[in-house]
Point group: C2
Chain length 79, copies 2
């Protein structure tokens, strides 16, 4: 699996080669993936798939990424 | 896309036909997907992929599902 728009040379077996983008347009998000740390990649990774089918690594430290996850959590409590 | 172990007859174009499971073993989780509401499915869906490659819909109202997302958020802040 390879994430478009990222460096092709992954560190270890991580999907995300770099920090990832800070922001994407929320209305273009088709899904958001959270990949927990594993023996093949020591960091948690957050990947969005856009409606254009493009995949982007999200910077886990960006306020926007954290807002996306918080909003998902709020929606879960409401459903 | 079809989620194994679930009813084959989806409501509209949702992936998850029913409420989904309340708990899975965290160490078996390969990734967690959050699919926001869309014109084809009015509810937010949470799908886990297990290391066995099996996919399961998670009950968004279960405390365990909410704990998984909260834990991911905490890890993001730490990284």
């Amino acid at each position: 699996m390879e994430v478009q728009g990222q460096n092709k040379f992954h560190k270890g077996r991580c999907f995300c080669a770099d920090k990832g983008v800070d922001v994407v347009s929320p209305k273009n998000i088709e899904k958001l993936e959270i990949i927990p740390p594993s023996p093949s990649c020591g960091k948690q990774e957050i990947i969005v798939t856009l409606k254009s089918t493009e995949r982007k690594c999200m910077n886990p430290e960006s306020r926007f990424t954290q807002y996306l996850i918080k909003r998902a959590l709020e929606k879960m409590a409401q459903q």
